[in-house]
């Protein structure tokens, strides 16, 4: 795995909508690099014969029957919303990310 550099951190910060100062970028680049290195040790332990996994528990096909369960009322759904209007969540107009 390639090392994490300062540009990578700046890119991720932008994607995550996190504002970071120049010092923070420098510090995170170093800290993330250490984390990536630590995780890298896993691939040293696992040989080529071990397939990648996305889940630690060997379970598959955990399904639910298609039966209607509980719902919220609009009032309940909106109870934690900072702002609402006409029974809908009210959010700032956000351009260019649709």
């Amino acid at each position: 795995m390639a090392a994490i550099n300062r540009d990578d951190v700046a890119h991720l910060a932008r994607l995550a909508h996190i504002e970071m100062s120049a010092e923070e970028l420098d510090r995170m680049a170093g800290e993330l690099a250490v984390i990536v290195d630590s995780v890298k040790s896993v691939s040293e332990a696992a040989g080529d014969d071990v397939p990648a996994t996305s889940h630690p528990i060997p379970l598959t096909n955990v399904f639910r029957d298609d039966v209607v369960g509980h719902t919220f009322t609009a009032e309940q759904a909106l109870s934690g919303a900072p702002d609402s209007d006409e029974n809908r969540f009210k959010v700032p107009a956000i351009l260019d990310e649709a």
Binding site: L15, L59, F89, K90, V91, D96, A98
Partner: protein, 502 residues
């Protein structure tokens, strides 16, 4: 908003070769959502079909809807795809208020279905094979309404209102491989492809397939390259083209626009375009950028879906006859001409005619009644022909009464109107209205004499061999009997009287 230069379609075709690609989103008609037990219902009050999972509250866990998996596998099979032995879900991260979780649960490197094809029939019967890259499962997003501003579009909007009823509705996204070789038929193929997908999911019963409700939505990719060049040009992706006509128009427009850009020497910009039905043009959305870095990773809250071969075969056994094969079979069975059959398909009365024939009518009688009478009445009432409520048995009964000479065709259409007005069965209406073909020759002969006397000269013409002149006399008799006479018998009697044999 600037207007883009476009070339005429013909000129664009002379210079360039179009390559297409489609992403069609199909909303499944399961009772509940993909990962929550909230109802999947269109048109309810905002934010009433939601629970904690749909709203992305902390600590909730999604659970996969088994029926949605089965519907997805059925779609994959109907598109001649391979079904993955094992597949998983992935998180697609982006910030936008249509998803409260800040990610959409989708599939990335392991779609449930892949490597398929769909044979699409164009209007003249040409079959074009569209290769399917993949069909993957995901969840729909909430619905944003942009408020303020002049047009209701996001440009100039002050704020947006969000309804999460649609958030979490199961979706299957069907992605084609690049479609080459369509040439000037590209717009027609685009429409035919989306129509074929819609027909398949409707036939499978896995989606309501109403484009006007967004059950089937299409993103259309278009690029151009000079004739003879193998490398693809740069593509644009026109989003949410949501009617069959719009798909055709959008592809045609983008071909014309790309051609003008290329002619000017400028590169086509890889970007999202928005389709505008009112002006039949597209406008620039946004250029592909960092925002497309979705940082997919496997969804840790869901375990893999393993579709055993037994399960897949069980589902395959439940698939209905593919629509294209059914049409071929019915056309051959009924003996309709290409044109007759196409009209029936376009009028949307294939099922109705099939049922009417099953109820005992001949293929030609069934077509005559549906195409000649019922389709026109449905159009006048602005409903689908099937919604008028004409029972197959009614048509069979009317046809039998005509055949037996009890009533003539004109009366039969009056009886049909009576049935549609709720006056009863055909037999009851015939009784009530006193409809019956006059079969006693006496009154007919009197009427014939009167008609011949009223139009002197016609008899001579008929005797001289101009038999078609008989129409004027038959018409006079029908008028005199207020349409109650059997026109065939009237004709016979006139010829007999004039001593003419045909």
């Amino acid at each position: 908003m600037s207007t883009d230069e476009i070339l005429s379609f013909e000129e664009a075709m002379e210079k360039y070769d179009p390559v297409l690609g489609f992403e069609v989103h199909v909303e499944l008609n399961t009772k509940t959502k993909m990962f929550s037990s909230a109802p999947n219902v269109f048109g309810d009050e905002p934010n009433t079909n939601v629970n904690e999972v749909d709203l992305g509250m902390p600590g909730v866990l999604p659970v996969v809807n088994k029926t949605a998996i089965e519907s997805s596998i059925k779609i994959g099979l109907a598109l001649n795809c391979k079904i993955a032995e094992s597949c998983r879900f992935a998180r697609k991260q982006y910030f936008y208020p249509d998803t409260p979780k800040n990610f959409q649960t989708s599939q990335y490197d392991e779609p449930i279905a892949y490597d398929g094809y769909l044979d699409v029939e164009l209007e003249d019967g040409t079959v074009f094979r569209v290769e399917i890259e993949r069909a993957h499962m995901e969840e729909d997003a909430g619905k944003l309404t942009h408020m303020g501003g002049a047009t209701g579009r996001i440009q100039g909007a002050d704020f947006s209102l969000v309804d999460y009823n649609r958030a979490g509705v199961p979706l299957v996204e069907i992605v084609t491989k690049p479609i080459e070789g369509a040439g000037s038929r590209a717009p027609e193929l685009a429409k035919a492809y989306v129509a074929a997908v819609r027909e398949i999911v409707k036939n499978l019963g896995v989606s309501d397939a109403k484009m006007e409700r967004g059950n089937v939505r299409c993103d259309a990719n278009v690029s151009l390259r000079p004739h003879g060049r193998e490398r693809f040009g740069i593509r644009s992706e026109t989003k949410n083209v949501n009617s069959l006509r719009a798909v055709e128009h959008a592809v045609r427009y983008e071909i014309q626009r790309h051609a003008a850009v290329l002619d000017s020497g400028a590169p086509v910009i890889q970007e999202t375009r928005h389709w505008h039905e009112d002006t039949r043009t597209t406008t620039s959305g946004r250029a592909k950028s960092d925002a497309d870095d979705y940082r997919y990773f496997p969804e840790p809250d869901l375990v893999p879906v393993v579709a055993s071969r037994e399960w897949v075969e069980e589902l395959r056994a439940t698939l209905p006859e593919p629509p294209a094969e059914r049409r071929k079979r019915l056309k051959a069975d009924w003996g309709y001409s290409d044109l007759e059959f196409r009209d029936v398909v376009n009028a949307g009365v294939l099922d109705e005619i099939e049922e009417t024939i099953a109820a005992g009518a001949s293929a030609s009688v069934a077509r005559k009644w549906w195409m000649g009478e019922i389709v026109g009445r449905a159009k006048a009432a602005d409903v689908d022909p099937g919604q008028l409520g004409v029972e197959p048995a009614t048509i069979v009964e009317l046809a039998q009464m005509v055949e037996a000479g009890k009533i003539n065709n004109k009366m039969a259409t009056q009886v049909l109107d009576g049935v549609l007005a709720g006056e009863g069965t055909p037999a009851e209406i015939v009784d009530k209205r006193g409809l019956a073909v006059v079969s006693d020759d006496g009154p007919l002969l009197e009427a014939i004499d009167a008609a011949l006397a009223a139009q002197p000269g016609v008899a001579d013409k008929i005797r001289a061999g101009k038999v078609q002149a008989i129409g004027a006399i038959v018409g006079g008799v029908m008028k005199a009997t207020r349409g109650q006479a059997d026109a065939g018998r009237v004709k016979e009697l006139i010829l007999e009287k004039l001593g003419v044999t045909v």
